[in-house]
């Protein structure tokens, strides 16, 4: 897939809570094909301590309006400054980057996300739904305050929540949700903090089902030029930005 560098315009800003926000950014030209799991690399030029671009998963795509949606968690200077952009501001974007989740057909699929790891799962559930799969998404958050943006998933399947404090959905981690005991799935997909992804991997292995995880290694370029973002796989170091970010756990040394 041809990679592009383009200026997008911020057309909508939605504050979800004090930590998370969603940006709608619009291209001047028709968008290229974008696959679930791919990411963009954006330039932050309104902060004098940010040098490199910041990689962000593609949360959703609206081809009709040439809009890409990003779901961002404030971490450091870069993401905080993205949250200060005003409608109409320009954003330089390199995209679409990385490989993608594989899309089975007519299967029972399980999506597990935690923290801002939910970002790529919305666009993924859309694809899974369209391919005739049954989609169950579990979002694990600390408390109901963080259980944001759930409505968007509803058109594509069932959405479940776990909270660490029990304030919404089931109490505990997403891999402790009762649905994992009570039902069986054919495929699992996950994105989020590494310990959570490792728990999903362990669950999937124990059930003998395929599991794809999305890694978030630190990146300098995002398109295979610097070799900074490698992860150690069974076939040696692989670039997360080009051979990932999605990996099947059978290839990782987890």
């Amino acid at each position: 897939m041809k990679k592009l560098i383009q200026d997008f315009e911020l057309v909508k800003y939605e504050e979800l809570n004090c930590e998370h926000f969603v940006l709608d950014i619009k291209a001047n030209e028709p968008l290229p094909e974008i696959l679930p799991g791919q990411f963009v690399n954006v330039r932050v030029d309104n902060n004098n301590s940010v040098f490199l671009r910041r990689p962000l998963s593609i949360h959703n795509v609206d081809y009709d309006r040439n809009v890409i949606q990003l779901f961002v968690k404030r971490i450091g200077e870069g993401t905080k400054s993205l949250g200060k952009l005003k409608i109409g501001d320009k954003l330089s974007v390199v995209y679409p980057l990385g490989n993608s989740y594989s899309i089975p057909k007519n299967a029972k699929t399980l999506l597990i996300g935690g923290g801002c790891g939910v970002a790529p799962l919305l666009y993924l559930s859309k694809f899974l739904h369209e391919a005739g799969n049954e989609v169950t998404t579990i979002l694990g958050v600390r408390s109901s305050y963080d259980a944001v943006g759930l409505k968007a998933y509803e058109p594509y399947g069932r959405i479940l929540v776990t909270t660490e404090d029990g304030s919404q959905g089931e109490k505990g981690y997403p891999t402790q949700h009762s649905v994992l005991e009570n039902e069986s799935f054919d495929y699992s997909f996950t994105c989020g903090p590494e310990p959570m992804m490792k728990a999903v991997a362990a669950y999937s292995e124990s059930k003998g089902i395929s599991c794809e995880v999305s890694l978030e290694n630190t990146m300098a370029c995002g398109f295979g030029a610097c070799l900074c973002c490698v992860t150690d796989t069974k076939k040696g170091n692989k670039c997360v930005c080009t051979e990932g970010p999605v990996f099947n756990i059978k290839d990782l040394k987890w």
């Binding site: 040098f51 490199l52 030029a225 170091n237």
Partner: protein, 304 residues
């Protein structure tokens, strides 16, 4: 019409803009973004005698106006280069040079000898300055005697353009440049990365798996420019300047300081089109300043 063509001894560059090793892959990674034939040359990834996995992750840390890397010369070795990669890239309409690294002199010599046989590779850049692997050659680049030794050995087997890449982590870079000139280097390029370090105060851990790594980006530009100026005054062979070049203005500064050509490194990560934008920007500068030949700008700093 302005003339952008420069010569590194017999090597003709259609313009002075090259891309720096380790920041431009094998060029292929940039083919979506730019037309490689617009460049004066590209220097592909650091290549060693044998396959290297490189250093463990994490290999990168952002710093103020720059970054540290500790890639550690990950590459599949020179044989793989000759067989798999060379056929894919040999027809690029630009000078494709190979950056050659090693841990012992024999490695450099064998690698250079194999690349000498590749018709479409007009030159190598001898990396005696990689700070990221114990045997990465930086030791060669930090004393005149060892720099001379490796260049002398490689010169015997390598017959095309031999560019030697110098380390900035030294007291007197001009004397090292003179030493390699004395052993038959056709040009020198500088600077490689400055040795640096970053710590995460929260976890108390180094941000790189190797603790120290190589600093690059605009933060190093003042140091690089100073060194290019010092070396250009000390040697007669052409000097290729790099270190923190982000735009045409920066490139012009290096040329004024004495660089015949320049390389773009870290900037490629931030804007994959920056190298061709810099070619355009140099042209605009020349038109605006009524300079018809880029060669008139080389070393043309005005010291009053």
């Amino acid at each position: 019409m302005v003339n952008l063509e420069v010569k590194l001894k017999d090597l003709v560059l259609k313009n002075p803009v090259m891309t720096a090793s380790g920041t431009f892959g094998f060029g292929e990674e940039f083919a979506d973004f730019i037309d490689l034939s617009d460049l004066g040359g590209i220097i592909v990834k650091g290549t060693t005698r044998h396959h290297r996995e490189g250093n463990p992750y994490p290999r990168m840390a952002e710093t103020p106006s720059g970054m540290l890397n500790a890639v550690g010369l990950q590459n599949k070795g020179v044989e793989n280069f000759c067989q798999d990669i060379y056929p894919r890239i040999k027809d690029y309409q630009t000078n494709v040079m190979v950056n050659v690294s090693g841990s012992v002199i024999e490695d450099y010599v064998e690698t250079a000898a194999m690349i000498n046989e590749l018709e479409h590779i007009p030159g190598i850049e001898l990396n005696i300055s990689c700070p990221n692997v114990k045997e990465g050659g930086m030791a060669f680049g930090t004393s005149c005697a060892s720099a001379e030794e490796v260049v002398r050995a490689v010169r015997q087997v390598y017959k095309k353009h031999l560019m030697v890449k110098l380390s900035p982590n030294v007291t007197d870079i001009a004397s090292i440049a003179k030493a390699v000139e004395g052993q038959g280097a056709d040009s020198v390029s500088l600077i490689n990365t400055l040795l640096g370090m970053a710590i995460d105060a929260e976890t108390r851990k180094p941000l790189l798996s190797t603790v120290t790594g190589g600093l690059s980006g605009p933060c190093v530009k003042p140091v690089a420019l100073r060194m290019v100026w010092q070396v250009a005054q000390a040697v007669k062979i052409p000097v290729v300047g790099l270190g923190g070049i982000m735009n045409a203005k920066d490139a012009i500064e290096f040329i004024l300081a004495g660089a015949t050509a320049i390389q773009i490194g870290t900037a490629n990560f931030i804007d994959p089109q920056v190298s061709v934008k810099i070619v355009e920007g140099i042209k605009e500068y020349m038109i605006r300043h009524q300079v018809s030949d880029i060669n008139d700008l080389i070393g043309a700093i005005n010291l009053k």
